[in-house]
Every structure is written in C-alpha cells, then in structure tokens.
Amino acid sequence: MSTEKKYTFKDFKSDQEVRWCPGCGDIAIMNSVQKAMAQLDHNKEDYAVVSGIGCSSRFPYYMNTYGFHGIHGRAGVLASGVKAANPKLSVWQITGDGDALAIGGNHFIHEIRRNIDVNLLLFNNQIYGLTKGQYSPTSLLGQVTKTSPYGTIEEPFHPGELVLGARGTFFARSIDNKVKETTNILIEADGHRGTSVVEILQNCVIFNHGFYNHIVGKDVRDDNQIWLEHGKPMIFGKEKNKGLVIDGLKLKVVTIGEDGITEADILVHDEKEENPTLHMALINMQHPNFPTAFGVIRAVKKDTYDSLLEKQIEEVKAKSNILCMDDLLNSGETWTIE
C-alpha cells in the first residue's frame, strides 16, 4: 500500500446528524476513531464498523464507512462473522458495557478466546444510557441508578480482567476526552493481529455524569492516572516523581527520592510479556490507593483464528495423499468391474 496520506478525518464523517446528547463522550471517541482511520493504511472501502445496541452502537450511522447496527449483545459475533467472511476488511466493533458485558458477555469472552482479528472498542460509562439510566455490569457496588434506587448489590466486572481471563492478547485503556492518546492507541490496536480490546472510559452526561471525575479532574488527573508506554518506567504524578514497584506479590506506589528510591527501582512496562500477572495487577489498580492505568497494557503475539484456519488447511493439504482428481477417485473403497 502507498505511504502517501490518503485521507483526512473528515473523510470518515457521514452526513448524518449526530444524535448523541451534547457533551456526550461518544462524540470525542468518534473524533479519535476518525483521526486514527485517516492515519492508517487501509482503503476507506475496507473499513467495516459493526455495533450492537446501545448509545455507543449508533456509531456506524456517523461513519462514512460500511456499517452494521446489529442486535443487542451480538456485536462481537456479528463482527466475527464479518471478519470470517471477508478477512481483508479492517473490522471495528463498537460496543458498550451493557452490550458487551451483560447480554453479550458470553460472546465477548469467546471472541477474545478465539483471537479473531477485530478492533473491539468498549465504551464504558458504567450505566445503561439508551434505556435511560439503569445499572450495568460495570456500575460500582452501591451505585444509585433507576433500577438500584438504594444502591446496587452486585460486584462489577473489570473489563480488562475479563479480557485476560479469556486469554486475550491485547488490552488498552483510554479516556474519551484524550483524543490524541486514544488515536495513538487505536492505531496500535489496529496493527495488532487478534482481538484488540480498547476500553474507553466514557462520560454519560445525562445518567452518570462525572463518574470518572476522581480520575480525570484537573486537580487530580496527574496523580490518579498513569500512562504506560512499552519499555518506559512506570512513572506518574504532577511532579513526575511517583512510580510503581513490586512489593512481595503486589504493586506499590513509591516516591522517587524518598526512602532511597531511585528511577532505577521503578518497574519498566513490558506490554509484550506473555505472563499476564503484572498486566492483571496493572489493570486492577484502583483509586484511591493506586493511579488508574491507561495506554496499551498488554499486546502479545499469538496466532489469530483466521491465520490458524488458513494454516490448518495448508497443513492438511500438504499431508494429504489426495493431490489430484485421480487420487480422489481412487481413494477409499474402490473396486474394478470386470
């Protein structure tokens, strides 16, 4: 493919009126996706944007690409079908915490386990927005919603934990309003072969406004976010002097310059490490004891379902005694009529 810049992000905007609420995090995420697509090498006609049902699933209407607005919870299986039927497409699955983790929870883990080559964007706003404010599988324990007026009594899923539990090969996390960072993560996700899961914390201005303020608030964001980069030390904080170390079997936040800690003591991020232990610990870091981890947390190489299928066919062919029509006709039980 040519390396010339073929598109601008505007080429990916459709003529449809965007009907998300003003200020919805989905709008910023869409900008990131369009910017990423403009930078990637694919031809525009090779993009397929597939969604299930929910606010986020309105995405395909606003993209000037082929689209598929599907069935609630089934975005992952629809995307799998699209990719299996037409492997040359760059398939972008748009899903939410309800679509992917409640009704679609089963499909979600199996899609990841198969490692189908799809970019899976999980918009996590910790609420059902389209049905107007009921709790979702990522709503926090005790969260007050329309169907939990006295607080939920259910433990939430951590999407990243599920991805690793399903033996996922790629997991990244971003925030809706971090357009530059999200764009770069999406470009990396597209380059990864396999199911690339990108969880994007997304503000629902109507039903769960500011749920992530403890992470994104101006005063706290530097101390409560850590942006991981492969090969770089895990350093964060306003003063860039906080870091993560291993203490026994757990992660620990330390301050460089205190208790004899130097930058050399700080963990270096390795997204390519196959052992998921540290990735899991990073994914599960939670406020207030830890910063929330963002960036590409895991990106390990593994065969995709599509490539293994192709490989298997070639192997079976190579070992087969049947190489031509005569071989086929003379195989199995044959006899001669005299």
């Binding site: 069935i71 609630h72 409640a102 009704i103 929870g105 049905t131 009921q134 169907t147 007026p149 006295y150």
Partner: protein, 361 residues
C-alpha cells in the same frame, strides 16, 4: 385494601404484581416497559411482601430465572418488549413443556428487528401461534386499559396455576405508557412452602422430606411413545382451556350491521370509531377479544350470522384477521385495516376504512 391511583400501565402491572403476592420478578431494561422494573426496585417489595426483584444480564437470563423460580412453585414473572420477547421464546417453550406456571408481559413495540420504540401489535402471531418450538400454547390476555393491566396480573397467575401453564399479558406501548385511573386490588398473601405443597401437590421444588416423592423438572423424553403421550396430555389441557377460558367484550353488538374486531389499544381506538360511525348512522359494534388464545371464535362465528361484514383493526400488517377469517369461515366479508411500524390508526381512519371496504365496496 383497595386504592385508587393515577398510574402508567407499566406501573400498574408492577404494583399489581406486588399485590398479587408474586414471589419473584426477573427482567432486563427495554423501552417501552422499563418502568416495570424501575417501579419495583423503587418500591422495595421485599420489605412489603418479601417479593424478590432482580435485574438480569439479559432477557434470556431473566426467562430462565423465571423457569427456575416457577419450578419452586413460586409465582414468578418477567416482562419485556418485542425484541426481548423473541429472546425469551426458548425458555417459554421449555416452561410450557415442563408444565410450570408463570407470567410473561410483552409491552409491544414496532418490529421486525430492532424496529422502533413506538407501540405496535405485530407480535400477535408470536404470542398466539407459539413463537417458540413445538406444540405448545400460551394463554394470552390482552388488556385495553391501565385498569386491566393491573387486573390481569392476578388473573394470569390464577390461570397459570390452575392449568400449570405459562400465561402472557400482550400489551403495547400505548397501554404501557399512558396514565389512567386504576383501582388497585387488595394485597394477597404470598404462599409459604407448606401452603404451596398443600395447594399444588408434589411438583414444586420445595425441598424433599421423606414423605414426598422425588420429582425432576424436565422437558425431555427420548422415547417417542412417551413424548407423544406427554403431548396428548398438553393438548387435553389446551382443549380444556379453550372450552373454559375464552374472554371477550361486546360493545353495541345487539343491533350491529357491521362489526369491528380489535384488541388492546386498537380496541380503544375502535370504540371511538364506533361512536363516530354511529353518529353517521352506521350501525357498528365492536367485539374485543380479551383472551387472544383461546380466541373467541364461536362468538365471532355467531355474530357473522347477524352482521354484513367485519373489519379487524390491528397495529400490524394483518395478523389477527387470519383468526377472524377462520372463525367466520367464509360466511361474510372480513377485511383488515391497520397501521404499523410504530404508527397508530386514528378513529377517523378506522371508520373510513370500514365505509370504504365494507359499505361502499
């Protein structure tokens, strides 16, 4: 204690469920019926009666929770709207096959597929002809007012337990969302396990003391003879229901020369159309099926000897009209009028259709 309130149809169902002594509600949000679970969650029925309310992870999960709870001999229910009901059909077929009582509420919206969130009656076939697999029937009640939304909850459970069969309330987005005065029934006590066993016998999973026979809830029978025998048993039950449970309402039918057959919100619209027709001098009556299965075929057949023509009015592309034609069996002309895909017919459209298709034509 009876109580009069102004309520949405969906809220009336929820309140009536608490008052009917329902043991468990299992659901998943979907427009236009999310108020049912929202009302129940807010009302904290576990404090009022001990009733449990659970937001499941999907409609499939919810109907199977109902299957489990019904297997315990408990009053279990779920509610959804059209796409969600499609998801429940597997469970409904199994519940019917296992002969368990439960209530399924469908507040219909326009389809097919994701369709629209606006009202519709296009799930008639799905409700009365099976929907799920196999030779089973759902007893289907069609409320035409917020009052009936409330009244039919207890009635549904009475019928469900009497015949040990799933019952559906087939409503629509109009009745679910509109507000009307409703007289709420007095509170019924929930049954204890002991009362359950005494009342319903040994099928309920309530724990097995030495005095009770072992029972397995299943819908599987690999020996065809036995599977046929099980089907015979189901069919005998459906025959009994057909003979005893037909319900309908007749309005101005005594002197009618033309008849409108309509259920649910279409019946309300048709009632207004009837008034307009009568003012114009057209002698028109309305027959409103209350049970869609069993269908009031005999009554419609009788009326076919009296009237010149029948118009069915439904918010579908013409589904119930097939049952009306079967009932009439060619005696007179049966025409259909409807709007669909979320559109609602106006009374004037209905009477114009009647004039055009039956009188002028």
């Amino acid at each position: 204690m009876e109580e009069v309130r102004l309520m949405k149809g969906n809220e009336a169902i929820a309140e009536a469920a608490i008052r009917a002594g329902v043991d468990g509600y299992f659901g998943y949000p979907i427009t236009p019926q999310s108020e049912i679970i929202e009302y129940l969650m807010l009302e904290q029925p576990h404090l009022r009666t001990g009733m449990q309310v659970l937001q499941a992870e999907s409609e499939v999960a919810a109907i199977n929770m109902v299957y489990g709870a019904a297997g315990c001999g408990k009053k279990a229910m779920t509610s959804s709207s059209s796409p969600g009901i499609s998801l429940k059909l597997e469970g409904i077929s199994y519940i019917a096959a296992s002969e368990l009582p439960c209530l399924i509420v469908n507040v219909q919206r326009g389809g097919p597929g994701l369709g629209t969130i606006q009202p519709s009656q296009a799930d008639y076939f799905q409700a009365v002809k099976g929907g799920g697999h196999g030779d089973y029937r759902l007893l289907v009640l069609a409320p035409a007012s917020v009052q009936e939304m409330a009244d039919f909850v207890d009635l549904s459970f009475e019928l469900a337990f009497k015949y040990r069969t799933p019952v559906m309330i087939l409503s629509d987005g109009v009745i679910g969302q509109m507000m009307e005065k409703v007289v709420l029934p007095p509170q019924k006590e929930r049954l204890s396990n002991e009362e359950l066993i005494k009342k319903y016998g040994s099928w309920a999973t309530t724990g097995k003391p030495a005095s009770r026979e072992r029972n397995i809830i299943t819908s599987l029978e690999l020996k065809s003879e036995r599977q046929e025998a099980h089907n015979h048993k189901l069919q005998a039950k459906y025959k009994e229901i057909s003979e005893n449970e037909v319900r309908f309402e007749k309005l101005n039918c005594d002197d009618a020369e033309y008849l409108i057959v309509a259920y649910g919100s279409s019946a309300r619209i048709s009632q207004k159309a009837m008034q307009i027709g009568r003012e114009k001098g057209i002698k028109v009556g309305v027959l409103r099926p209350i049970t869609l299965w069993p269908f009031p075929s005999d009554e419609i057949n009788k009326l076919a000897d009296q009237v010149k023509g029948i118009l069915t009015v439904e918010m579908s592309a013409g589904q119930m009209v097939e049952d009306v034609r079967l009932a009439v069996n060619g005696k007179i002309k049966v025409e259909y009028f409807g709007r669909y895909g979320g559109m609602i017919p106006s009374p004037n459209e209905v009477i114009e259709a009647l004039e055009q298709k039956l009188i002028g034509g």
